[in-house]
C-alpha cells in the first residue's frame, strides 16, 4: 500500500509539473531559511559546550550597584580575586584569568598590532583547547612562553612546525622575545574564549607593573573557576561576601557566578566574552524563518485546493471502488510528504549555497555539516514532516470529503478558489507589505544617520593610531616632519578616538546625578584639523602658557546642561587637577558616536599629561595615495619596528552602523524571498482562478468585449488582494518600526515613503505576476474553448 501511495504521489507530482515546481521551490526556500536559522540558533544555544567540564566551569563577575548615582554595572572579577577565592573556598578546584591587550607583534620583517591574551597556565587544565604541538601542562610555564593558534602559525611560519621559533612582542614600551611553546588547534566558532597569541599572565607586569596583581580598585580580568565535582554554585556565591569583604565595599559590590553555557547570551557578560550573542537576534531570525515557511505552506494549501477540481474524478472513483476517507487522506498526505522531502533536499542544497551570505549577514562562521551535526538533520526532517502535515492537512481533509455521487454525476460544485484561498493570499501579501515597509524605513534611517551633519568635517580626515604611546619625542618629531608636506593641510593629536569605544568621562557639578561630560585631550590645532566650528570665545593658543592646564573648550551641549547664561568665562573643577579650569571658548556640537546615542557634553583640553593615542591628519584631495605613502614612509623612518595603522574617519564612522546595516540586509533578503514565494503562489493561483473563468471570458468576447476590458476585468480581481494586505501590513510595520526607531537618539519620522513604496511594490509585483495568465486568457480565441463545451 505504501509503495502504491508513493508511486501515485510521484506520478501526480509529475503530471502537475507546474504546480509541483512552484510548491517545491517555495517550500525549499522556506526550508532553506529555517535550516540557516536553525544553524544560527543551534550555535547560539550550544556555545562553549565542547569543554568536558563545562558544567563545573563558572565565570566570576562583579555586580556594582550605587543607587545614588544610577550605577548598575557588571564586569570581570578583580584581578586578585581568583587566587583569593581559590585559597578560601574548598569548593573551588582551580581558576584561570584572561586579560586582553593590543600591541605590536613582529617577526623581524612585518609588524602589526595584534590582540594579545594573557592567561594563567591553568587554562589548558580547565578548558579543552587541544594542542597540535607542545605540552599543555607546561605550555604557559616559561616567562617567555607564547602559544599561538594554527591559523596564526600558518601566517608567520607557513606549514612548518613553529615550536621553539621566536616572535618579538612589544609589551608597554619595550620589545621582548617570546618562544613558541605550543600551537593550539584553531578555536571552534562557538567558543566565547578566542585568542591568537597566548602569553603568561604574569607578563602583564611589563605593561601594568606589579601592582596590577594586587589591585582591588579598578583592574579586572575575565576569571573562570573550576568547581569541585559536587559543589553547588549557589553555595559558593553565598560565601563570596565573606571572602571579598576585606578588599571591597560589599555594600556596593557583589560577586556572582555564571555557568559557562550562560555566558554567551547573558547581556551582563558582554565584557567577558570575545563573541557575545543576543537572544533577541535568535528570536527575530526564527520569526522571519517561520514567516517565510508559512508563506510557502500557504502556497501549498492554496494550490492544492485550487487543483482539487482537476482531481475530483479520481477521488470519486477511488471512493466508489472502495477507498475509505482515511485512506484518501493518507494518500494526499503522502503526496505532500513526498513533496516536502524533495524540498528538504533542495533546501539543504540551497542552504549550502546561501551559507556564505548568511554568515556575512549574521557575522558568524556557521558550517552546514549534516554528519557531524545530526541535530540539523533531525531538525530538517522535523520541519519537513510538520510542513507536510500542516500544509497537506487541510487539503487532505477537504479533498477526501468529496461525495462520489456528486462528482460522478457532475453535480460537483468546484471548491476552486474560495474565501480561504483569498485570505491566505492576503496574509502572504500582508507579510510582504510588512517586510518591505520595514526595509524601507530601515534604509532611510541608516541613510539618515550616515548623511547627518556630524558637526565636523569627516571627509579626507585620517586617523593614525599612535602605537608608540607615551613617547612624546616621537610624536613631536613625526608631527614636525609630516606637516612639512604641502598635501598635509593640518595635523592634531588626541588621547582618544572619536569613533572608538575608549573615552574618558567626568562628572559635572550640576546637582543632578549621572550628568557627565566626555573629556578629550587635544592640541592647539584640533579645531582647525577636525573642522569643528567655534561658536563663541576663542580657540586654544600656542603662545598662552596658561592654556596648557587652565583653559578648556566645551561644546554647546555642556553649556546647556550647566545652564550657563554667559558660556565663555565660567570655571570648572576637573578631578585630575588642583586648579579650576576656565572655559575660553564654545564649539558647536559635534557627534563623536553613532546616532544611536544622544550628543553628550564634551570638554576639550590640551594638558600633556595624557599621552597621544591618535593623530588626526587632514589631507588635501590631490594625490591621496602619495600622501598616504608619504605618511607611512615618514613613520617607518622614525620607528621601523612599529606598524603604521590608519583609517579614514568617515569610513570609521560608517562602521558604527554595521549592526544596523546587517539587519537591514537580513530584512531586505527576507522580503525578496517572501515576495518571490508569494509571487510563485499567486502565479499558480491566478492560473487556477482564470482557468475557472475562461468560459465566462469567452462568452463575453463573443458578445463584443475587447481584450482591454477583459484584462481589466481580470486584473480587478487581484488588485482587491493588495488593499487588505496593506491594511494589515502597514500598521504592524508602523508599530514595529516605531519601536525600532526608539533605539536611536537621532531618528527619522516614519513619514509616508514606507507606506507608498511597500504598497506600490506589492501592487506592481502582483499585477506583473498575474498578467501572464490574464493576457493569455484575454487573447484566447473563444471558439477554441466553447467547442469543447
Amino acid at each position: 500500500m505504501f509503495f502504491n501511495y508513493l508511486k501515485i504521489s510521484l506520478r501526480n507530482l509529475l503530471k502537475y509539473r507546474g504546480y509541483t515546481f512552484i510548491n517545491t521551490v517555495s517550500l525549499s526556500l522556506g526550508i532553506t531559511f529555517c535550516m540557516l536559522v536553525f544553524l544560527y540558533v543551534n550555535q547560539e544555544m550550544t556555545f562553549d559546550n565542547f569543554h568536558t567540564e563545562k558544567n563545573r566551569i563558572h565565570s566570576v563577575l562583579y555586580h556594582l550597584v550605587v543607587p545614588d548615582y544610577n550605577i548598575d554595572s557588571y564586569g570581570g572579577a578583580h584581578v586578585p580575586a581568583g587566587p583569593v577565592i581559590l585559597g578560601n573556598l574548598p569548593e573551588v578546584e582551580n581558576f584561570v584569568r584572561l586579560w586582553d591587550y593590543r600591541d605590536v607583534v613582529s617577526d623581524g620583517t612585518n609588524s602589526r598590532k595584534e590582540l594579545l591574551t594573557f592567561a594563567d597556565s591553568s587554562l589548558f587544565r580547565i578548558f579543552n583547547f587541544p594542542l597540535l604541538y607542545g605540552d599543555s601542562s607546561t605550555a604557559l610555564n616559561r616567562p617567555d612562553a607564547l602559544v599561538i593558534t594554527e591559523k596564526t602559525a600558518r601566517r608567520f611560519f607557513g606549514g612548518e612546525n613553529p615550536l621553539g621559533r621566536t616572535l618579538t612582542i612589544r609589551l608597554g614600551r619595550e620589545f621582548d622575545e617570546f618562544t613558541i611553546t605550543a600551537v593550539a588547534a584553531d578555536i571552534p566558532p562557538n567558543s566565547s574564549i578566542r585568542f591568537d597569541f597566548l602569553l603568561p599572565f604574569l607578563r602583564i607586569k611589563d605593561i601594568q607593573g606589579n601592582e596590577f596583581f594586587t589591585d582591588w580598585s579598578y583592574q579586572s580580568a575575565v576569571t573562570y573557576l573550576l568547581l569541585t565535582e559536587n559543589a553547588e554554585p549557589a553555595a559558593v556565591v553565598s560565601k563570596f561576601p565573606e571572602v571579598i569583604k576585606n578588599y571591597l565595599d560589599t555594600k556596593h559590590y557583589q560577586y556572582e557566578l555564571r555557568t559557562l553555557n550562560q555566558i554567551h547570551l547573558d547581556p551582563n557578560c558582554k565584557l567577558l566574552t570575545h563573541l557575545s550573542g543576543d537572544i533577541t537576534n535568535s528570536y527575530i531570525l526564527s520569526a522571519i524563518a517561520a514567516l517565510v515557511l508559512l508563506i510557502a505552506c500557504f502556497n501549498f494549501i492554496n494550490l492544492s485546493i485550487g487543483q482539487s477540481v482537476g482531481r475530483a474524478t479520481e477521488i470519486g472513483v477511488r471512493k466508489v471502488v472502495g477507498a475509505l476517507r482515511s485512506q484518501l487522506m493518507v494518500q494526499f498526505w503522502m503526496e505532500t510528504l513526498v513533496l516536502s522531502f524533495i524540498s528538504l533536499f533542495l533546501g539543504i542544497a540551497l542552504a549550502e549555497l546561501f551559507l556564505p551570505t548568511f554568515n556575512s549577514l549574521t557575522a558568524r562562521e556557521l558550517q552546514l555539516n549534516l554528519i557531524d551535526n545530526p541535530a540539523l538533520l533531525i531538525a530538517g526532517l522535523a520541519v519537513c514532516l510538520v510542513t507536510g502535515l500542516l500544509a497537506g492537512g487541510y487539503p487532505a481533509v477537504l479533498l477526501s470529503g468529496f461525495e462520489p455521487v456528486d462528482i460522478l454525476r457532475n453535480r460537483f460544485k468546484t471548491t476552486g478558489v474560495g474565501i480561504l484561498n483569498r485570505s491566505l493570499v492576503i496574509i502572504q501579501f500582508a507579510l510582504c507589505v510588512f517586510l518591505i515597509f520595514v526595509t524601507v524605513v530601515m534604509s532611510r534611517q541608516i541613510d539618515f544617520m550616515k548623511t547627518k551633519e556630524l558637526g565636523f568635517n569627516d571627509k579626507l580626515l585620517l586617523s593614525v593610531e599612535a602605537v608608540n604611546v607615551g613617547d612624546s619625542q616621537f610624536d613631536k618629531k613625526y608631527h614636525r616632519k609630516v606637516i612639512q608636506n604641502p598635501t598635509v593641510l593640518s595635523m592634531s593629536a588626541t588621547d582618544a578616538s572619536f569613533t572608538g569605544a575608549y573615552m574618558m568621562s567626568v562628572g559635572l557639578p550640576t546637582g543632578r546625578p549621572n550628568e557627565s561630560a566626555l573629556m578629550y585631550r587635544v592640541d592647539c590645532d584640533f579645531v582647525k584639523t577636525v573642522g569643528v566650528n567655534l561658536k563663541a570665545g576663542r580657540d586654544f593658543s600656542e603662545v598662552l602658557v596658561t592654556d596648557r592646564d587652565r583653559a578648556v573648550l566645551v561644546n554647546e551641549k555642556l553649556v546647556e546642561v550647566m545652564g550657563w547664561e554667559e558660556p565663555v568665562g565660567p570655571q570648572l573643577r576637573l578631578p585630575d587637577r588642583e586648579e579650576p579650569v576656565t572655559v575660553v571658548g564654545v564649539v558647536k556640537n559635534f557627534h563623536v558616536q553613532s546616532m544611536r546615542y544622544a550628543l553628550e557634553p564634551v570638554i576639550l583640553h590640551i594638558s600633556e599629561i595624557y599621552p597621544t593615542r591618535y593623530f588626526y591628519v587632514r589631507i588635501s584631495a590631490d594625490n591621496i595615495s602619495s600622501t598616504l605613502s608619504f605618511l607611512k614612509d615618514t613613520w617607518q623612518e622614525l620607528a621601523p619596528q612599529l606598524p603604521f595603522e590608519y583609517h579614514f574617519v568617515d569610513e570609521a564612522f560608517d562602521r558604527n552602523y554595521r549592526a544596523e546595516e546587517r539587519w537591514h540586509r537580513i530584512v531586505r533578503y527576507s522580503s525578496i524571498f517572501a515576495i518571490l514565494i508569494a509571487c510563485l503562489g499567486l502565479l499558480g493561483l491566478s492560473a487556477l482562478m482564470i482557468y475557472g473563468r475562461i468560459k465566462e471570458v469567452c462568452i463575453r468576447k463573443i458578445h463584443g468585449a475587447s481584450e482591454i476590458s477583459i484584462t481589466s476585468l481580470l486584473f480587478k480581481k487581484f488588485v482587491i488582494f493588495v488593499l487588505p494586505a496593506c491594511v494589515i501590513g502597514w500598521p504592524v510595520g508602523y508599530l514595529v518600526m516605531q519601536k525600532w526607531l526608539e533605539h536611536f537618539a537621532y531618528r527619522i519620522n516614519i513619514g509616508t515613503t514606507g507606506f507608498i513604496i511597500s504598497g506600490l511594490v506589492v501592487l506592481v509585483v502582483a499585477l506583473l505576476t498575474v498578467s501572464y495568465h490574464t493576457l493569455k486568457t484575454a487573447h484566447t480565441n473563444p471558439t477554441e474553448i466553447l467547442r469543447h463545451e
Binding site: N4, I8, E314, G316, G322
Partner: protein, 222 residues
C-alpha cells in the same frame, strides 16, 4: 436480492421540491439481467445510484440481501456496497495516472488483499478479458472500447454479486458497444446480477427484463 418499496427522491430547490423518482416499487432477484430504459432526465441514473448506495432515497424502504439499507449508517452502507457491488460508468472513470494493471489493482488494495493473492487476481482478470498486453498502458493510450473493458474488469475483479452499469456503451461506437454487451451477457451467465441504464433498444435486447421510467414514475411502456 433487492426490494425497493415506495422509493422517492426529490431535491430541494428553494421552497419547491423537485421530484426525480416517485414511489418506485421493484423486486430484483439474484442472477437477473435488467435494463432500465427511459428518456434523459427520467431518473435512471438516480435509481442506479440509490441501488448502488451512492445516493439515498428521500422516502421509502430499500432492502439489499438481508439488510435494511435505509436504516444503515453511512459507514455500514459503504461497507456493504464495497463488498457486493461493482460500478461501470458511461465515461469509464479510470484513474488517468494509473496503468491498466494498477487500475485493476486499486479495489483490491482498498480491500486489503495480500500482495501475492492480489497479483494473481489481477493476472487472472487481465487474462480473462484478454488485455494482458495492455497492462502497462495508461488509459489515455487505449481506445474507448478498451477503456470500458478495463472499467468492467475493475468492476468485477473483487467478485461482486451485482454490477450497476450507467450507459456503459454511451460513448462507444456500435461495434465496441456490441462486444461490451456480449461481455455482460457472459458475466450474467456466470451468475452475476446486472442492472444497466440505457437509451439503446439494441442494448436492451440483451437483457431478460426491461423496466421503463418516465418523469420519475415506473411505467409499463414508454
Amino acid at each position: 436480492m433487492i426490494q425497493l418499496k415506495d422509493i422517492t427522491r426529490f431535491y430541494k430547490a428553494g421552497s419547491v421540491n423537485t421530484y426525480v423518482l416517485r414511489r418506485i416499487n421493484l423486486d430484483i432477484r439474484e442472477g437477473e439481467h435488467i435494463c432500465i430504459m427511459g428518456p434523459s432526465g427520467a431518473g435512471k441514473s438516480t435509481l442506479l445510484n440509490i441501488i448502488g448506495m451512492l445516493d439515498e432515497a428521500s422516502e421509502g424502504e430499500y432492502r439489499f440481501l438481508d439488510y435494511d439499507v435505509h436504516g444503515l449508517k453511512e459507514k455500514q452502507r459503504s461497507q456493504l456496497y464495497k463488498e457486493f457491488i461493482g460500478f461501470v460508468f458511461q465515461s469509464y472513470h479510470l484513474i488517468d495516472e494509473l496503468t491498466v494493471y494498477e487500475n485493476l489493482e486499486t479495489p483490491l488494495l482498498y480491500k486489503k488483499i495480500k500482495s501475492s493473492r492480489r497479483k494473481s487476481m489481477v493476472c487472472d482478470t487481465l487474462d480473462r478479458f484478454q488485455i494482458v498486453g495492455k497492462k502497462d498502458l495508461f488509459p489515455s493510450q487505449l481506445s474507448g472500447g478498451q477503456q470500458q473493458l478495463v472499467g468492467i474488469a475493475r468492476a468485477i475483479i473483487a467478485e461482486p454479486k451485482l454490477i450497476l452499469a450507467d450507459e456503459p456503451t454511451g460513448n462507444l461506437h456500435s461495434e465496441e458497444g456490441k462486444k461490451i454487451m456480449e461481455l455482460f451477457t457472459r458475466l450474467n451467465e456466470e451468475g452475476v446480477t446486472i442492472i444497466q441504464a440505457t437509451h439503446s433498444e439494441q442494448n436492451a435486447a440483451y437483457s431478460k427484463r426491461i423496466i421503463y421510467l418516465r418523469d420519475g414514475w415506473l411505467v409499463d411502456k414508454l
